[in-house]
């Protein structure tokens, strides 16, 4: 396994300058998680409007390049999308990481698929899988945790 497949440019960029950091205004759902083994933390905030659209989404957290990039990519990908679609994307993403499946989401463009797929490099680093998946699990819990 090549290290450069894990630390792709996209991941390093998101890791260094994560998007949507902080608490988004008017959030009405949130959830947090941490990995007690390494100390990584993530807290997802989102504003789900009456039409079930993710109007805004953000995260706070500390962690490695993979976990920060994963949370950053999550917020970018899911923003302004319909609730059911975000669930579908999240489940597909987790399937891709865990069972090495290709992403099959018609409503995402090629760039978005490439960005999400950049995180699949962790498949070859079993100890790092949780770094990539924690934000997505946390997002799904946030959906069930209305303020």
């Amino acid at each position: 396994m090549e290290l450069k497949e894990l630390y792709q440019e996209i991941i390093l960029d998101h890791g260094k300058n994560p998007k949507n950091k902080g608490k988004c205004l008017g959030f009405n759902h949130e959830a947090e998680a941490h990995n007690p083994l390494c100390g990584d933390k993530v807290h997802i905030y989102l504003n789900l409007d009456k039409e079930n659209i993710v109007k805004d989404i953000s995260f706070e957290g500390e962690g490695c390049a993979i976990s920060l990039a994963s949370a950053s990519i999550l917020t970018e990908t899911l923003k302004n999308k319909d609730l059911n679609l975000t669930k579908n994307i999240s489940e597909n993403f987790l399937e891709m990481i865990k069972n090495k499946k290709k992403l099959l989401i018609n409503s995402l463009d090629e760039d978005q698929i490439t960005t999400l797929s950049s995180l699949s490099g962790v498949q070859e680093f079993p100890m790092r899988v949780k770094c990539a998946t924690m934000a997505w699990h946390t997002y799904l819990s946030a959906l069930n945790n209305k303020k």
Partner: protein, 406 residues
């Protein structure tokens, strides 16, 4: 005599390559590798002498019991304990500390009493005391770490009150590498008649320890960090405690007589060793101590200090690195951070170069919170490391910086 510069050849694990590169193992504070003599002793025991100990009367049971008890005698001699019943086998240093916290805590710690520990403690020397704090409404006081990552004797002195019921401190910090002034702490506590537990998890693998010289009440040891088998620890407990402390766990082997209305217990060590113990592991640990003695603990300390000094010098020259702790007395631990690279990413990239280190909070969240860090990278040294390992570590650190464009 085993020559220290030939030591790697005594450990079969170094024959393999990791990611195509020679293994540079810098994770001994986590667990040490095992020399062939220990592995062979365990195999031979299972092949020719294994049986459960202390129960049956057949030939194998006698052989196994003898082998097992030989290790207890060896540990007694190695630690310079006065009595063989002061040596109690546990599943690790964690269980050794839990045993003391539970047995001593139940009997001697009451509401409002104080347990004195330090901010450097591993979770295994804090969480067991937390249980007693909850159960007895006791108080845990933390001696503060200074800016160099040390615990000063005055800080201990300051925190002792008439309510202090036990002092439990680590011998060497697994993060800052500081060697605590345990002799001074024990002398001070003895003067005030407060029992002391030393968490020797990081101390015993690197320093000569002598129970008569130290004079502590309890000393906890992790055998798998002393080139010994995993799943094994030792509690040294001074004889005066053996009769007055209640048993820790109940089960076979720890009883004297069992009736429907009354149970009496065996004497130590059996009293504190309920159930079937790690037989082969105890037998194997005999060879770990032999291995250490053949080199000489003084030589091991001297060798490791040389590598540590070399490593500190080299890493300090690297401007991107921040070294955790600056204690005058330091054991084999080099914790560091690199600005702009998370310790986990450092560990993954180093692994690609065959270098094994640990990243995380190393079970010391109290200390990491105090330092304002969520994680650090830790290179820790064992008898098999040499200056070349440090050179490879430094080159691998440069690779991290390259990957992250720093």
């Amino acid at each position: 005599m085993i020559k220290i510069d030939k030591i790697k050849s005594e450990f079969p694990i170094f024959k393999q390559k990791i990611n195509g590169k020679p293994l540079v193992y810098l994770d001994s504070a986590n667990s040490s590798q095992k020399p062939k003599v220990v592995i062979d002793k365990i195999s031979k025991f299972y092949e020719t002498e294994f049986s459960n100990i202390g129960r049956s009367v057949h030939t194998l049971a006698v052989k196994a019991t003898n082998r097992f008890e030989e290790t207890r005698d060896k540990v007694k001699q190695y630690l310079n304990a006065k009595h063989r019943e002061e040596i109690i086998f546990t599943k690790g240093a964690t269980e050794a500390i839990n045993l003391v916290a539970s047995s001593y805590g139940k009997k001697f710690i009451n509401e409002g009493d104080e347990i004195l520990i330090t901010e450097l403690e591993h979770h295994s020397n804090y969480v067991p005391w937390h249980f007693i704090r909850e159960e007895k409404k006791a108080v845990i006081k933390f001696a503060s770490v200074n800016q160099d990552g040390e615990i000063e004797i005055d800080e201990i002195k300051k925190n002792i009150t008439s309510k202090t019921k036990i002092i439990a401190v680590t011998h060497i910090s697994n993060v800052t590498g500081s060697i605590l002034p345990i002799k001074k702490i024990i002398d001070l506590a003895n003067e005030k008649k407060i029992p002391v537990l030393i968490d020797g998890t990081q101390g015993a693998p690197h320093l000569k320890i002598d129970m008569q010289e130290l004079g502590c009440d309890f000393y906890a040891i992790s055998c798998h960090k002393m080139y010994g088998p995993n799943g094994l620890g030792i509690l040294y407990a001074k004889k005066k405690w053996l009769d007055i402390l209640p048993p820790y766990q109940g089960g076979g082997g720890m009883i004297n007589e069992v009736k429907k209305d009354k149970i009496t217990f065996a004497n130590s060590p059996a009293k504190f060793e309920a159930g079937t113990l790690q037989t082969a592991e105890v037998v194997g640990f005999f060879e770990s101590l032999n291995f250490i003695e053949k080199i000489g603990m003084d030589k091991i300390t001297e060798h490791e200090n040389k590598i540590l000094e070399y490593g500190l010098d080299k890493l300090k020259k690297n401007n991107s690195l921040n070294i955790i702790g600056n204690s005058k007395e330091r054991g084999s631990v080099l914790c560091f951070t690199i600005k702009g690279i998370h310790p986990h990413d450092i560990a993954t990239i180093l692994d690609d170069e065959g270098v094994a280190i640990r990243a995380g909070h190393h079970c010391c969240q109290i200390l990491h919170d105090k330092l304002g860090l969520s994680a650090t990278a830790r290179a820790s040294i064992g008898v098999y490391n040499n200056t070349e390992d440090i050179d490879i570590l430094c080159n691998a650190i440069e690779k991290c910086k390259k990957v992250f464009k720093i």
